[in-house]
């Protein structure tokens, strides 16, 4: 009997990566597949910070945009190769995460609002015309030199694999259990010998790193973008809603959430955005009112164990 972790790796991670690695061969809409992978990464990133520690990252896109601009600056000014620049994007996001660690002192709604404000502050900082020499300000960047959607897509699949592996680790390790204990009751957890601050900071930086890598790869893939694109609040909101819809603090929840909701989005979203926005808003409200623990709660309520 293999351990739970290896079963999760074998039956969830491996098929997921295999499917997304093979799909471009049979399905033509490459951009759509890429967006699916990006949202899988972001939803799992939200899962790590919200699902396991209870901090709602309402400005999660700040890390994503920071990663994208980290990538862009390395490519524009230093002509670094794309893969290294993506790693720099991750590092930039981690640095931003470090800068924002004091926010973890806040709780509940205060953290969510402060995080939202932080992401908007980074957006206005990057988009400031006074910094045109470095970030090109509000006029956007164009990185035709590194443009290579195929490589960027596989890089995204790799990052997705690593992210899901990180969630599998959290789900099956003492570390993940300690995080959830901190989420439920920080005082009791610290009395049981858990280093609360260190735990939270590690989860926070891990989720920042994930979003930063995703942002770097996104910049690599689209190659032309504006601050408003990569700092769009939709990334935070979508990632949070997808993760919640499936069910947080599980491995499969965010995956199911992305595939169902982003699938619906692409079926009805493009032609009439305002009707989509209406349906989406109603869906979110219905979710909170009737299924606050996500789709997986339908199964857990019946006593089934959902990884």
């Amino acid at each position: 009997m293999p351990s739970a972790a290896s079963r999760h790796l074998l039956f969830i991670l491996a098929p997921l990566v295999a499917v997304f690695a093979l799909l471009p061969g049979v399905y033509q809409n490459h951009l759509l597949l890429f967006n699916f992978v990006i949202f899988l990464i972001l939803a799992q990133g939200v899962n790590i910070i919200y699902g396991f520690t209870g901090y709602l990252p309402f400005g999660y896109v700040g890390f994503f945009g920071a990663g994208a601009y980290g990538f862009a600056i390395m490519v524009m000014h230093l002509q670094w190769p794309a893969v290294l620049a993506v790693l720099v994007g991750g590092v930039v996001a981690v640095l931003l995460g470090l800068l924002l660690t004091p926010l973890l002192r806040l709780s509940g709604a205060y953290f969510a609002i402060a995080n939202l404000a932080a992401s908007l502050a980074v957006l206005h900082f990057v988009a400031n015309p006074a910094l045109e020499g470095i970030t090109k300000g509000p006029y956007g960047v164009s990185l035709t030199g590194t443009f290579n959607p195929t490589h960027a897509y596989y890089a995204a699949v790799v990052v997705m694999g690593l992210t899901v592996a990180a969630v599998v680790y959290l789900k099956n390790s003492a570390f993940g259990l300690a995080l959830q204990a901190v989420r439920e009751d920080a005082v009791s957890a610290s009395m049981a010998g858990v280093n609360v601050v260190k735990m939270r900071v590690i989860a926070w930086l891990a989720s920042a790193l994930i979003a930063g890598l995703a942002g770097g790869i996104y910049a690599w893939y689209v190659s032309v973008f504006y601050p408003d694109n990569v700092f769009s609040g939709e990334f935070s909101i979508f990632a949070i809603v997808f993760a919640l819809f499936g069910g947080v603090a599980t491995i499969t929840g965010p995956i199911v959430g992305v595939i169902i909701l982003y699938g619906i989005y692409n079926l009805i979203g493009f032609t009439t955005p305002q009707y989509f926005q209406l349906i989406y808003g109603l869906l979110i409200m219905g979710l909170v009112l009737f299924l606050p623990a996500g789709l997986v709660s339908l199964a857990t309520r019946r006593g089934w164990n959902v990884p």
Partner: protein
């Protein structure tokens, strides 16, 4: 300098009006109303309707907006809040629930009104006063010119909005400290459980606070086309963040602190816009983060909510 200071105070009073409804709702119910900005936007559309259909002074929209949104708030409260309060983590889920609501409102408004910017001629506001003056005291008809304060001319709508804000803040104070329902409201604010245990009808008190909060937001919205120049259905999201900055500045959960927060915000806003205009966009967010980190309870708050 004098101009910036006086304009700051005028705008600050208006900003207090913008924030106070949000704060009332949070203080009483611990619910984060992310649809607050959309209530403002709808209030502005009521003003547009009053001017467009009846062709009278938009000031008449103030009582209309208040009553309509008071009733809408009561209805909304009974539909949404009891279910929300029954869930595991109402404060977090309220953020997502009301985000969904704001999406619905924005989508419906877009479907009916389109995305174009709308504005109202600023001389229409306050035309009722000029008419009365002409009828009773004679003199020539015509739009009110700029109003002189400390030797500087300010647009009449700014002054009218500031005066209305003062009146509304005074009324909120009277409500909270000199009526029975207000006293009960303060009891629920300080300790919800104990209020429930003493036999206070918490649901009734909260519903009243929710309705009044939305009503005040709509009243603030009536003036939005004059203070910000024009209005679109997408105005709501920015207004929400600004309101949060103001509310947190004053102290979350203390409606009268909001008056102070609004004035501080208004002064900073005007000073930064006068001296450092390209960085003015950053101000609300940076101010919000700094205040949250240095004094999470706000300028007037007690230390209550640090993790």
């Amino acid at each position: 300098m004098t101009y910036a200071l006086v304009a700051g105070v005028l705008f600050g009073l208006y900003f207090s009006l913008v924030g106070i409804g949000l704060n009332l709702v949070f203080g009483v119910m611990r619910i984060v109303n992310l649809a607050h900005g959309d209530m403002l936007m709808l209030g502005a559309f009521i003003a547009l309707g009053v001017v467009g259909i009846a062709g009278i002074d938009p000031l008449f929209a103030v009582p209309l907006a208040f009553v309509v949104f008071l009733l809408a708030g009561l209805l909304l409260y009974w539909v949404l809040v009891p279910r929300l309060q029954g869930s595991a983590n109402p404060e977090m889920l309220s953020i997502i629930l009301f985000f969904g609501l704001s999406q619905v409102i924005e989508a419906v408004t877009t479907i009916f009104a389109g995305t174009s910017e709308r504005s109202i001629q600023s001389r229409l506001l306050g035309s009722v006063f000029t008419t009365i003056k002409v009828k009773w005291f004679g003199g020539k008809a015509g739009g009110a010119g700029p109003i002189q304060i400390l030797g500087q001319g300010f647009p009449a709508p700014w002054v009218i909005a500031a005066v209305t804000s003062l009146i509304v803040i005074a009324l909120v104070y009277l409500y909270l400290y000199h009526t029975r329902l207000g006293t009960l409201t303060r009891a629920v604010m300080s300790r919800r459980d104990e209020a429930l245990a003493t036999g206070i009808d918490v649901d009734r008190v909260s519903a009243a606070a929710f309705g009044i909060g939305l009503g005040i937001a709509a009243v603030a919205g009536v003036f939005a086309p004059f203070m910000f120049g024009s209005i679109t259905p997408a105005f709501g999201a920015d207004a929400t963040v600004t309101s949060f900055a103001i509310v947190v500045l004053g102290s979350l959960g203390n409606p009268l602190g909001t008056a102070l927060g609004g004035i501080v915000y208004g002064l900073c806003y005007m000073l930064v816009q006068t001296y450092l205009s390209s960085w003015a966009d950053l101000l609300p967010y940076v101010l919000l983060i700094v205040i949250l980190l240095l004094r999470p309870s706000g300028l007037l708050g007690r230390r209550v909510r640090v993790a």
